[in-house]
Amino acid sequence: MANAKDTLNPGLCAIALAIRSRDGPRFVFHYPPHPSTKPTERELRFGTELDTEPAEADDQEQDDYDSDESELEESSYLDMPALGKLDLNEKMQKQQQQLPKQKRHVGTPDGDDHYNDKKGEHVVPWEHLFEFPTADLESILTPSRAFHKKKFELSLDPLHFVAYPMHIREDGLWKKKKTKKSRRATKETDDPEPGPESGEAKSKEKKDQKAGNTSEDGDDSGGMLMFNVAFILNLPKDEEDERILEIYEHVIRKFNKALNHAQASNNYVWRESEVIIAMKEKAREERRPMSWLWTEILLKSTLAGAIRDVFNAISNNKIATLHLATTPPVDLSLQIPVPPYLTSFPRSDDRAMLGLLLTSSNATIDEEGNEDPSYLNRHFALLLLDNEEKIIAEIQADNTELSPPLIECIRLCSPTLSFLQVAQTHNIELSSLLILAQHLVYWRRAVAIRPLHAREMYIVSPNCDSRKLPAANFAWKKAFPLAPSLPSYLAALSAAPRPYKTFSPSKNHRPTYLEMLAWAMRGGWVTQLCTFAWILVWPEILYEVQYQLKAGAIEKAKNKPASGQASTASAESTDESGAEKKPIDPNAPLTTEQAAEQARLERLAKKAAEDAAEFAAEFAKMPVPVATDHPSHNPAPHLKNLSPYIIKDPHKVNHEESLYIAAYGKRFTDPKIRDCWFKFCSKYFNGTEALEMIALQEGMKRKETWSILMHFQEIILVCKHW
């Protein structure tokens, strides 16, 4: 969703590159040249709320109170922020923002030009980042080897410096020597012993080294020992850990690794750093303005350009596409993944994610019901998130080996056809189609949805972003000039859920109406209303099963006493103690103990017989269950005390529950319907699988499915939600 990026601000405010060479640490480059010290703006909306005007007014009022309070405060330390303040986080940020300003001594240049401070020292505009001199930053941002390929997280209130430092290998090389042996060995093990060399790799490496050396004036002593691209973040306190982890996992680590690769193969980082440092030195002497220098650097250095691209994309929560000019070139895409849709209704204290599609249908839930990001349900369909032509053009421009199959996949897929249907009609392999679709989903080109169909119901999404309505209405008019306006289309959909086809004026309009639906779905305006069901066991069935169980027990008891009586008659007790003693001396007269034991057994047997008789008598009194046509309305008095029962998970039923299902099954005379009952029961009547998916997953016609489901109407509890 194009809208999602507004709500998830990653808080990135600058990227800095520092290296350590044998001459010591150097601060190479940072972007943007003048990062804003303003804390990242936070989405003020929560839940699904649209309106913020009163909230802003509130903030202003609170500001006034706050400033009153801060005047009373003696120290600049915010000792107990939780006390006496209302707008904690926001306020603290504001103060933090003010503090540097107050502290900032006159000499700190904010501007573009060089000047001499009071002491007559030359002040260079790019030698400060935030309020820190780069001479100090360069040492703190080049951590020791202990941090090699580890997460480096330093916070200098209010900024966080997050990085993944890269050191040179201990053998003094950036690249592991390429030997057949080491290639086979695991990545971690360092293999100093040079094995038999594969000629090509070696010669290539030599060339690389030569190329590197020539640019370093053939002198290796100035070589780089480590480099570190630090991402500088400014985040609201309560989101820090989560956001830092996200950007670290998805961007920082990958970017540093790619640079490490480029450094290893082409001495890339060092070469580029030397260029940048030389340019800075020259500009320092010539007293060039910073803006001029930065333009020059960005023109000359692809590394600086890459840093800029990463910054621009990631700080706007877009996808960064990088191209490092090495041989062979390194192409890289980086992003902080955004969720393709929301699966639960946002709570009132969740930050708003307006415009994100809201649906419980998660295509990545596998057959066992576990979420697996590498799985894609083949009964789902692909909905492109932008104009098809535009996406194809973009993919063509990327021009990777994956481009042609991706374009093919986009051309074939349609939001109305499931992946399985696409694969079948075009006779292509389903698994590769799914992999391509997954790629498109991961890189935010598409989402997987339940296939759109004119018979299904669609409603206005409770998470739609109506603030975009004016602009969206304009785009809608352009896309569908003859259709009703977007507000009236949405109003019609939201007024009463009906099958979608009833909105289309005639059958000829249906394809256009489906396109309109796809458009609205893409923008998060609408969502599918699905039906979910649970099996409802009415008292009549409960009683019937209970009765059967009792009858079964009596039947068993009847057979048992017969044999039991026979054994007692011959004084052969079933009791083990009796059986044990008997064979010892069968003719001996009974001892008192034995007599007592026998009496006890007799009493027990009598009691059991009495109980059985009582049970049978009671059972005989029980009314015989009568199967009525409408078990839900059976008015029989013996059912009054029973309340209906809901089977929670028909996939894992206990004995009684399976009897209920069987009892229902027996009542369907039509074998086809009976089959469907048993088939649907465990798979669909569990409250999580939408009945709308039955037709697709079972390969049936929608109409047919619904007519069968109508037979179950009385015995399932249905609920409609998205």
Binding site: D51, P143, S144, S344, P644
Partner: protein, 408 residues
């Protein structure tokens, strides 16, 4: 939980050194202690007493194994009386990386400020070895602070005649959503039991009117408190999670189930009985299955009135058994239901937003500004003091076909 505390100084000859630590040997080697240290101090020393430019601010750093986080506030005091004209120190706290670091920030800042003050007063830190009898040693202080904060979440320690360290760990909560005048607060605790004379007067007035029925504007009116002050008071309560915000309950409202309804049907956490205890107050207690079907029959196009009628037609007079307001509130609080709000959109008005030209829609009047699809009817009702019916009547005055109602 504080894993360790230490006091580090920059010594002109030796560089950054840990002078005191608790527990012993946790940061640097101490004779007689044979426990593994948390991390290699030499690696981290650069961030514990950093260069001057980074001093006098809150600084945190994670160790390379990403197991511990050091929270510190390095201080640099400049004075000619010191060797090299400056005195640098840091009181650090070591916590687990996963632990919530927020409550400790205030502690670290307070330690820095107190000891800075004491150093300026009587060189408490720099002249430590010549300390007088009536002041505590720093290592003892570290120990007490660590133990008290870990065990009681607060400490109150007299350091010498003039100085006492008072600290408390405060939980820091998420910033609550803004309070809107059409929200309805409902309390999560018995305020009457915890309120005492020291409470804020406005707060006391406002709390008396929190009943789960009155909206914020009405509370302000009934409590005779200005609306903005009422909102601030409620915001406070919301921050401490002692109230919840709901919507205004009316029988014309629409509520629809969310996918979480499945939790209720499968009776997660005994939710059904909880609900039954809360809503069956009008008559005899029925079976929980009725509640299930009541929830399941709510849908995005049915007002509560229609829903009640539906059940009445099927022979179930809901109102005789169930307190419908409580029933709905239960659903909303548990996230089983959401309110479907009503919005109005005027085509002319949204066109004017795109073009940037202001229009005066005929018949629009006071409602025109609400007709952009972003203002729910609840808001219009509260701000314009109109009923739903009146709003609809007013909307009819807009040009024909211009206004649409969207349920969202």
């Amino acid at each position: 939980m504080i894993q360790g505390m230490f006091f580090a100084r920059f010594l002109p000859q030796k560089g950054t050194k840990v002078v005191h630590q608790s527990p012993p040997g946790c940061i640097v080697h101490e004779p007689g202690v044979d426990k593994p240290r948390f991390f290699d101090f030499e690696t981290m020393a650069e961030y514990i007493i950093p260069r001057q430019a980074f001093c006098n601010r809150y600084v945190t750093i994670c160790d390379p194994d990403n197991k511990y986080r050091i929270l510190g506030h390095p201080v640099c005091i400049k004075d000619e009386k010191y060797e090299r004209n400056e005195f640098m120190f840091n009181f650090g706290i070591v916590i687990d990386v996963e632990a919530d670091k927020m409550p400790y920030e205030a502690v670290v800042r307070r330690l820095a400020s107190t000891f800075t003050e004491m150093e300026i007063q009587n060189q408490f830190l720099s002249q430590e070895h010549v300390s007088t009898k009536d002041s505590r040693s720093i290592s003892a202080l570290l120990e007490i602070i660590k133990e008290d904060l870990n065990n009681y979440n607060e400490c109150m320690i007299p350091v010498d005649d003039a100085n006492t360290i008072n600290m408390k760990l405060f939980p820091i909560y998420k910033h609550p959503p803004p309070v809107k005048s059409w929200h309805v607060p409902i309390s999560k605790m018995k305020f009457s039991e915890i309120m005492d004379d020291t409470w804020d007067l406005t707060m006391k007035k406002v709390i008396l009117h929190i009943d789960g029925i009155k909206d914020v504007r009405r509370i302000a009116h009934d409590a005779d408190v200005a609306l903005d002050l009422t909102k601030i008071a409620l915001q406070h309560l919301l921050y401490y999670d002692s109230i919840l915000m709901l919507d205004m309950f009316m029988f014309g409202n629409i509520y629809a189930p969310t996918p979480s309804i499945n939790d209720f049907l499968s009776d997660k956490d005994g939710m059904q009985d909880e609900c039954a205890n809360y809503v069956y107050i009008n008559g005899p207690r029925l079976s929980n299955q009725y509640l299930c079907s009541l929830f399941a029959t709510l849908c995005s196009s049915r007002t509560l009135k229609e829903w009640l009628k539906l059940h009445l037609d099927q022979g179930f007079p809901v109102l005789n058994y169930v307190d419908v307001r409580r029933f709905i509130q239960f659903g909303v609080i548990k996230g089983l239901l959401y309110r479907v709000h009503k919005y109005t959109v005027s085509s002319q008005y949204i066109k004017s937003i795109v073009s940037g030209r202001s229009v005066d829609i005929q018949g629009g009047g006071a409602l025109q500004k609400y007709a952009d699809g972003c203002h729910c009817f609840d808001q219009i009702m509260v701000e314009q003091n109109m009923s739903d019916q009146k709003i609809m009547e007013h909307l009819r005055k807009f040009p024909k076909g211009d206004v649409e109602i969207i349920y969202r």
